[in-house]
């Protein structure tokens, strides 16, 4: 029950923070996510000692029991959401003040609205991953959509209203398709419920609806048209949640459905895998053609979401890879979007990477943080390394070691290498090379300290005791759902 109270904290902060001054509101919001972060960490270490679910209410069929689900998968996602939301909240304090001044608005009153929406946005994601009923999950999915839309619509850049609507319409279509899939699940006589623990089968039609909906939400190549606009034109703290946390939640939904019934993936494994790899590589190459730093990061997100889809196809090991990939991408991309925000704030709206170069000389702290961000994306010395390991293990486990599996392994390895490639390309282009301005600038600590904290966490998660507590827990859950017998490796 104590976990419920911890999850209620950020929800309470949603309503209290707008009553405070910007600084206090920021500290409260950040603390409201840090406390559940430590409680989740405690549960990860304690393992089975923590409750696995909390009952909320019983709804008539076919909706069924509404409860909170506290397994290791939810904890892994929850931990990431808490860490990133808490740190980005701190980063946003000077950034949003700067943005409100730029928009010639009253800082104090706008901050109240902003912090309310920000907290509601982050808390919706947190509750989404603990939802034990698909209808509850859908409610929080839509809440994240609406709050993000309002933030883009109110405080974004460029043609923010158009971009906001673009985002809203695409994601609403994704949401309703997913809802249609949920409804079909609910009305299956074998289920007659939307409670995760009560669902025994997911028909092909339901899977198809959910899959297409979540492909738009992820997104992969094709339905990705909304993403570069939304991520580039959103106010940077929103980009720093939207790209790292929100889009990957589509992967979470697919994972939950796959754990119930993996037949759709088994049936269509090869076309999905081919599409996912192509999407990731294509988007990875698209990164090189971008001149707007935030847009570049957005294309990197499309590429990284290809990893998630690849991982989904690769059996139990791939599913572990999916969870870890979500975490590593979230840590990396939140650092990178915040770095982009730092550059925008310090260098008066600078986003064109052709006008950047040598920024390490003027803002070394942000530059160093960005390097850690790209290490996460590239899977170098951070938790991303484990993600890539499990994805490769999934390829071997699914296809064996033979000539056929090489046809999968090589493109997957190339996909990983491409992230490292565009990562170092961007670092060189933005932070190194011939400096345009060598003057070292004084910048607020809020612009880099939260980034380093996320970076340190991403490194710590690679090593024991964190990795040795988290990964066996994830295995236990996934192995149980997938019906994998024998000793857990």
């Amino acid at each position: 029950m104590i976990m419920l109270y911890f999850l209620l904290l950020p929800l309470i902060a949603v309503f209290i923070a707008p009553l405070l001054t910007p600084k206090r509101a920021t500290y409260l919001s950040s603390a409201a996510f840090i406390i559940p972060f430590f409680s989740i960490l405690y549960c990860i270490f304690k393992g089975n000692g923590c409750p696995s679910e909390i009952h909320i209410m019983n709804f008539s069929a076919p909706i069924g029991e509404i409860y909170l689900n506290f397994d290791f998968i939810s904890h892994a996602f929850g931990l990431t959401i808490c860490a990133v939301s808490a740190m980005v909240a701190l980063f946003a304090l000077p950034y949003m003040k700067h943005r409100f001044e730029e928009m010639k608005r009253n800082v104090k009153s706008e901050f109240r609205k902003y912090i309310f929406l920000y907290d509601l946005y982050a808390v919706s994601m947190l509750w989404l991953v603990y939802s034990g009923n698909l209808i509850l999950l859908y409610i929080f999915l839509e809440l994240t959509l609406i709050t993000a839309f309002l933030l883009i619509y109110s405080y974004g850049y460029g043609n923010r209203k158009w971009v906001g609507l673009l985002y809203l319409i695409w994601c609403a279509v994704a949401g309703v398709l997913t809802l249609a899939g949920f409804i079909i699940i609910a009305l299956d006589p074998l289920n007659n419920t939307l409670a995760l623990k009560g669902i025994t089968t997911v028909g092909m039609l339901a899977w198809a609806f959910i899959f297409v909906g979540m492909l738009i939400e992820l997104p992969v190549l094709g339905p990705h048209v909304w993403l570069p606009w939304a991520h580039a034109e959103a106010p940077t703290p929103v980009s720093a949640l939207l790209s790292p946390l929100t889009v990957g939640l589509a992967g979470y939904v697919l994972l939950r459905i796959a754990l119930i019934d993996y037949s759709f993936i088994t049936t269509y494994r090869m076309p999905i895998l081919a599409y996912a790899i192509f999407s990731s590589i294509y988007a990875g190459f698209s990164v090189f053609t971008q001149t707007d730093f935030k847009r570049l990061l957005a294309y990197s997100t499309v590429s990284q979401m290809g990893y998630i889809l690849v991982a989904l196809c690769l059996g139990p090991f791939g599913l572990i890879g999916l969870v870890i990939q979500y975490m590593s991408h979230a840590f990396g991309k939140s650092i990178l979007f915040s770095s982009a925000g730092g550059i925008i704030a310090v260098h008066h709206g600078l986003r064109d990477i052709n006008k950047m170069g040598g920024l390490h000389d003027s803002i070394p702290t942000i530059s160093n943080a960005a390097v850690v961000g790209f290490l996460n994306l590239g899977g170098i010395l951070t938790i991303g390394m484990l993600g890539e390991f499990f994805i490769l293990r999934g390829v071997v486990d699914t296809f064996g070691v033979n000539t056929m599996s090489l046809a999968i392994i090589l493109p997957v390895i190339f996909m990983f290498m491409l992230s490292v490639w565009y990562g170092f390309y961007t670092i060189r282009k933005v932070f190194y090379g011939k400096p345009k301005d060598t003057k070292r600038l004084e910048i607020s600590r809020y612009f880099y300290v939260p980034l380093f904290i996320i970076g340190i966490l991403s490194v710590l998660l690679l090593f024991p005791p964190l990795s040795t507590a988290l990964i066996p827990g994830l295995k236990a859950v996934i192995w149980t759902f997938m019906g994998v017998g024998g000793v857990m490796p």
Partner: protein
């Protein structure tokens, strides 16, 4: 039941007295209407209490909103709205066809007068147009209902049943503004004063649907399932016509008019569901209440959400804007964002449609929900202003509270409708 009937008659008497005395003391009509609604609510049995509370709330807000307009029949207008609300409360509890049709007329006729209300005179031109359509609609509905009731006594209804069904559905469509019979809606909504239109677009929409549902369930036979495709096509046309019309309109009242056309299309899908779930078992007509209650709950929640939204937006038009967050909340409820009321309405309707195999209609409803997003957001954005402590904002706040009630997942409403659906099936 007799006590409830006596209470309703008492409420009607109070309304009448209030309207008479309001010629001398104008506020009399207002207080009399409130007292009548309280009595009406007290007369609601337990199974329809939640429904009664919603109608009570919508009725009271409609009454209060009338204070925003200086009409020449001040006092009587309260009585007319009170009468509509009482009839709406009553219809869900009656099992008598004559009373169902009487309730329909009692809700329809007051709107003929209300639509003409405007400051400093009467809007006769709009009134004539509206009344012409409404009289035609009511006549179609009544004849359709009577034909359907008559077919119940026939061993082989055949073509007569189809004729009755089509007339009833066309009458309903004309009455509430379902496309392609929506001709009057954009013109009347844009020409009349926003306050009476907020009542016509909210309270007046509920009874025709309940009456149609009741009659169709009551008269259902083996032909029903094959003819529902007619209603399904009408619903689909209405959704698209409404949403495309709203997307391409600029005037706020016109956008809301087309939004009504689209919303009535959504609600019409309930009519598609209910008769389909009538099945023949061992020669007997059996109603499957597990499907009906979903459709009934969905349809009613959608009608309440539509009522709340229309009251809020039309009052905002009258007051030249309302508090921005309130406008957005209403827009999101219309779009169907959870956990607002519009979402639950659509969800329950979708569930019932999937149950009866109308997957293509589910897909169209979902697509239409998505394409409605831009105009609702635009409406909220253009009508949204800063906070002022005025009547418009208090009304908008009240209707937003209504849409927020479903933050508590409305299983309570669903269970109420389940009991009600069982009662209907027992009666039949």
């Amino acid at each position: 039941m007799e006590l409830a009937m006596a209470m309703m008659l008492g409420a009607l008497a109070i309304l009448t007295l209030g309207s008479i005395f309001s010629f001398k003391y104008r506020q009399f009509g207002f207080y009399a209407a409130i007292v009548a609604l309280v009595i009406g609510l007290a007369a609601c049995p337990g199974r329809s209490l939640y429904y009664g509370v919603f109608i009570f709330a919508i009725g009271i807000i409609n009454l209060v909103s009338l204070n925003a307009i200086k009409s020449e029949i001040k006092g009587v207008d309260y009585g007319l709205v009170g009468l509509m609300a009482l009839a709406t409360m009553y219809i869900i509890n009656t099992s008598d066809l004559a009373m169902v049709l009487a309730a329909l007329v009692l809700v329809s006729v007051p709107t003929y007068i209300l639509v003409m209300i405007r400051e400093g005179g009467a809007n006769v031109e709009v009134g004539i147009k509206y009344i012409t359509f409404m009289v035609f609609a009511t006549v179609l509905f009544l004849i359709g209902a009577i034909i359907l009731a008559y077919t119940k006594s026939l061993p082989d209804a055949g073509l007569l049943y189809v004729l009755g069904y089509v007339m009833l559905v066309l009458g309903l469509s004309l009455e509430v503004g379902v496309a392609p019979l929506h001709e009057w809606v954009p013109d009347v909504f844009t020409s009349a004063d926003p306050i009476p239109i907020s009542i016509i677009a909210s309270l007046a929409k509920i009874v025709p649907f309940i009456a149609a549902l009741w009659i169709l369930i009551y008269t259902a036979n083996s032909l029903t399932a094959s003819i529902t495709i007619f209603t399904a096509v009408l619903a689909a046309i209405s959704m698209f016509t409404g949403n495309i019309g709203a997307l391409t309109s600029k005037e706020h009242a016109r956008v809301l008019a087309y939004s009504t056309v689209a919303n009535m299309g959504y609600v019409l899908t309930c009519i598609v569901v209910v008769p389909v779930v009538v099945v023949i078992e061992q020669g007997l007509v059996v109603i499957k209440p597990e499907f009906i209650y979903l459709a009934l709950a969905g349809g009613l929640l959608l009608l309440f959400a539509n009522a709340a939204g229309k009251i809020g937006f039309f009052n905002a038009i009258k007051g030249e804007g309302a508090y921005s967050p309130l406008m957005y909340m209403l827009a999101f409820s219309f779009i169907g964002v959870p956990p607002l009321m519009g979402f639950w309405g659509k969800l329950f309707i979708l569930l019932s449609l999937v149950e009866v195999g109308y997957i293509w209609l589910v897909a169209l409803l979902v697509i239409n929900s998505a394409i409605s997003i831009p105009y609702y957001v635009r409406l909220a954005s253009e009508l949204g202003i800063g906070w002022k402590a005025n009547l418009t904002n208090f009304i908008c706040l009240a209707v937003v509270v209504i849409t927020l009630i479903t933050v508590v997942p409305p299983d309570w409403f669903l269970r109420g409708m389940e009991v009600l659906a069982q009662t209907i099936s027992i009666v039949i």
